[in-house]
Amino acid sequence: MDILLQALPALFDAFELILQPVVLGYLIMGVIMGLAVGVFPGLGGIAGLSLLLPFMFGMDPVLGLALMVGMVAVVPTSDTFASVLMGIPGSSASQATVLDGFPLAKKGEAARALSAAFASSLFGGLVGAVFLTFFILIARPIVLKFGTPEMLMITIFGLSMVAILAGRVAIKGVVAAGLGMLVGTIGEGDSAGALRMASYDFPYLTDGLKLVIVGLGIFAIPEIIALLRQDRSISENAKLGGGWFDGVRDWWTNKWLSIRCSIIGVIVGVIPGLGGSVVDWIAYGHAVQTTQDKSQFGKGEIRGIVGPESSNNAKEGGGLVPTLLFGIPGSGSMAIFIGAIALLGSGDIEVGPSMLKSNLDITYSIVWMLAFANVVGTLLCIAASGGIARLTTIRFTLIAPFLFMLISFAAFQSGQNLMDLVALFALGLLGIMLRRFDWSRPAFLIGFVLSDPAETFANQAVQIANFRFRESMEAGLQYIFSPIVIVLVIVTILSIVLGIRQAKNIMAEGNVKSGSKRAPLIFLIVIFAYIIAAYWNAALIPDHSSADRIFPLFVGGVSILGCIILIIQMIRVDETNTIFADREANGDDENATYGLWPTLAWFGFLLVLCAVIGFILALAIFLVSFLRVRAGLSWTHSILYMIAGITFMCFMAWVLGRDFPPGILQATFNLPWPLK
């Protein structure tokens, strides 16, 4: 009761702070900037906030907060555009949206998918704000209950979603996830700094692969190439079906799902250290498990959009709890957010426990600004979705070169290294093969994203548990099997059992027919070879760094077992079995107008050109030749399109203060921006 008496006046003070025209103005300004940055895959809250940072020093705290909160709040909203329209996971928050969003766009229902996503986002954001208003007062003791074993269990729960996304052959899903985790361990280990599948002679890999590149490579490139080979529009009959109003109605029909997923989002967001990487998978899994007819998932089930999108905006709200109460950021953008708060005014707002005592009004105004920014951002997005959805009716060959341009630029931003583009191409090839042979790409991505938390939490939980057990058996058991852990174990087991039982009905990537034995077997053997190499490489890590050895050995061992079982199965069953799924043998890809390799070669052409003459010059040649040769436009049109594309690219890079990938030419001659 005391708490409420203290909270209510602060809540009113907060509304008084927010509802000033100038504050609202700054908030809307932040929202618009956030939307503009967020539509770019790979440029999320971090890029946006870095853009704002120079203006924060000494700024009025409430105005500065309005600008920043406005921006942070809408990034998970606007990245939905890329997920639905292009099949690119714009950020870790919208990975799961791709699974059903993109198939809907292919059916010509992009506007419906977008507006359902936006309505869910909005609702999630509001549920998050309401929940936080009360929860923030009691959050601290609850958050402190989540120790290392609990975080490890949540990570494992996230991994258990692999079961439901594994597809028709469960073991293939397990191996795909294992491969994802092994790819996630590439580089210097976090515990002891040992190198895994990397060498100091080849420095690029020592930092590990970035999520942006893996996401673009595994999801975006295979889809772009596949669509390009068909030579038609994204929407299969070049017509728009359901409008934005249908999407809002879809959300309303599924409002209970939306509420549940929002609460999942807030709760997972509240736990420091997990960030947003698991939340949309957990929400997606929940949506699948609570749906009667599961046959449409992966083919354009609207519930597969409502679930994750409700959770990811709610998660941003939840993420404020560790940020504000402990000074511990839940994500990269929150880290910059904390840095920026210290710059505001005279620097007297300090994130940490004092936010509840001396700055409760500021805390509440952040929570409600977040909600308000969600409303503004969503309305803008819904209003725009009908128009933007029309992109799906344009002949894809005209869009593809510009997508290549965007994803190359986005990939380069992650490491500012030409090798980023090579990595993108390599992962793209892997993604194409995973797609072709019906290996679960979501399972791969879940494995990749959760590899790092799974390893770190497992290492630490084992160390602490050891000490506790040495103290006494009881202390050890008490530490490992806390009530929260037990609940999570039960939930995880249920989720795996249900998942495996249902997985056969859920073809996250559509039905893929089987072909001959040879190609799928060769691909399996290549994967097997990599896993063995990674296992062997980890086994060679010396004892002083043994903490970095255990995880890849364990994951590698399980994956090797999976591969052996698959090989035995492949030898024993005949070639019509689903295990031999091959898109090239049957269906869309077999009948495509263009072959895989000539299409991929265009992208390769851009990269090679780029390595020689730098990004902008390469882009000019690539755009013109692609549009002229492949799309068959006239010279005039090709050149005009090229100029438009390059102008846009330069403008974005200039606003964001970014450079372009340089080539050999740039290493030899000093050229002016943007050519440098």
């Binding site: 900037m33 020093f57 000494g58 210097e188 515990s191 700094g193 930092d207 103290e471 002083h544």
Partner: protein, 360 residues
């Protein structure tokens, strides 16, 4: 819409009114300086860089944007190895190291692929450290560690060859049983582990203590045990000016049975303390940066130090410690990257005996 953003940004820029007249040097206007910190967002180095970044932006000619970036991993070795490869001499890459970067270098850790001598120091600042206990153990602490010897402590550590070497060796000298849990990514994670009750003892550098742990002490959930102290002009350890009420490790050691403030162990501890704390955090430009740019940065940091309000704002955020620029920073770097062979040999064999760490 994009022109709109640009225009809006210009309006904000004008209204924020932070521009100072810029003098000579290299004009950096319009550039973005990425200041990379090889730790997570939560620890003392993050707070140190976040404190200096806006001041630096203001002091550099042309007021470039200074963004603090984080590249945690392997107790800062990952970030330092990355920095060694940077050849961008135009002043847009800045790097901040800490004692945890210096120690593996001093100990010839095989993971170290960086060479301090290649880099160009532009600013160095000292810090102190505070060790604290949970409430239970704190009740048994009476200025000596005599009452703490039967307790098994758990400590979240970034690795025994990192800055944690100083507290781990100190606790061992006091006869305490402290089990380190390795693999955390910054001292902030250690604090959170302490707050959750998983760890029962913790240590923070001064800025981390001021902004995080002091609150725990005020709430009665933590009890400060000791500081590492500060060096006076004669090279003796005296009380830390930021925490004048806390005893130093030297005082606690003198009061504790079996702990000696002389001899081989003490000398090794002191040598690593001197390398790790009084000139702990150093800002570097990469190898091959032109002298012009180095001077520009050194001057900018000088300007920061000369601000009339500097003493006041720095006291609250990073504590009262000396800050060195230019040639002084170079001297500080020398102090931070040399220890006697004797001290080094002692620590190497201690690491092997106590933690099974072999630096080969």
């Amino acid at each position: 819409m994009n022109t709109y953003i640009r225009r809006v940004a210009a309006i904000i820029a004008a209204s924020a009114s932070f521009t100072l007249p810029a003098f000579a040097d290299v004009d950096m206007s319009g550039k973005t300086i990425e200041w990379t910190i090889p730790f997570s967002e939560k620890g003392g180095s993050a707070k140190w860089a976040n404190f200096f970044a806006p001041l630096l932006s203001e002091a550099l000619p042309g007021n470039p944007t200074v963004v603090v970036k984080f590249m945690p991993g392997a107790g800062s070795t990952k970030g330092a190895n990355w920095f060694q490869k940077q050849k961008n001499g135009d002043g847009t890459v800045l790097f901040g190291t800490s004692g945890s970067t210096q120690f593996p270098y001093l100990l010839d850790d095989p993971r170290v692929r960086y060479e301090y001598k290649d880099w160009e120091p532009v600013m160095a600042s000292g810090t102190g450290g505070v060790a604290y206990l949970n409430a239970d153990a704190g009740a048994k602490f009476d200025g000596s560690a005599n009452g703490l010897k039967d307790i098994n402590f758990i400590y979240g550590s970034q690795g025994a060859t990192r800055l944690d070497l100083v507290p781990l060796l100190a606790w061992q000298m006091l006869g305490m049983n402290v089990e380190p849990v390795f693999g955390i990514k910054g001292r902030g994670d250690g604090r959170l582990m302490f707050e959750r009750g998983e760890a029962t003892i913790d240590f923070q550098t001064s800025s981390g203590y001021l902004k995080g742990s002091a609150e725990l002490v005020a709430e009665g959930r933590a009890v400060p045990m000791m500081t590492w102290g500060s060096l006076n002009a004669e090279g003796d350890i005296v009380r830390d000016p930021t925490f004048p009420d806390m005893p130093t490790f030297k005082e606690v050691c003198e009061a504790t049975d079996g702990c000696e403030t002389s001899g081989e162990t003490w000398d090794a501890w002191k040598a690593f303390f001197v390398a790790g704390f009084p000139s702990q955090k150093i800002a570097f430009l990469p190898a091959g940066t032109s002298q012009e740019i180095i001077d520009t940065f050194a001057n900018a940091f000088k300007k920061v130090k000369a601000r009339p309000d500097f003493a006041d704002i720095s006291k609250k955020r990073i504590g009262k410690y000396p800050m060195y620029t230019g040639a002084d920073a170079q001297a500080a770097l020398g102090q931070a990257t040399t220890v006697s062979t004797k001290a080094k040999d002692f620590v190497v064999s201690w690491l092997k005996d106590a933690y099974g760490v072999e630096l080969k």
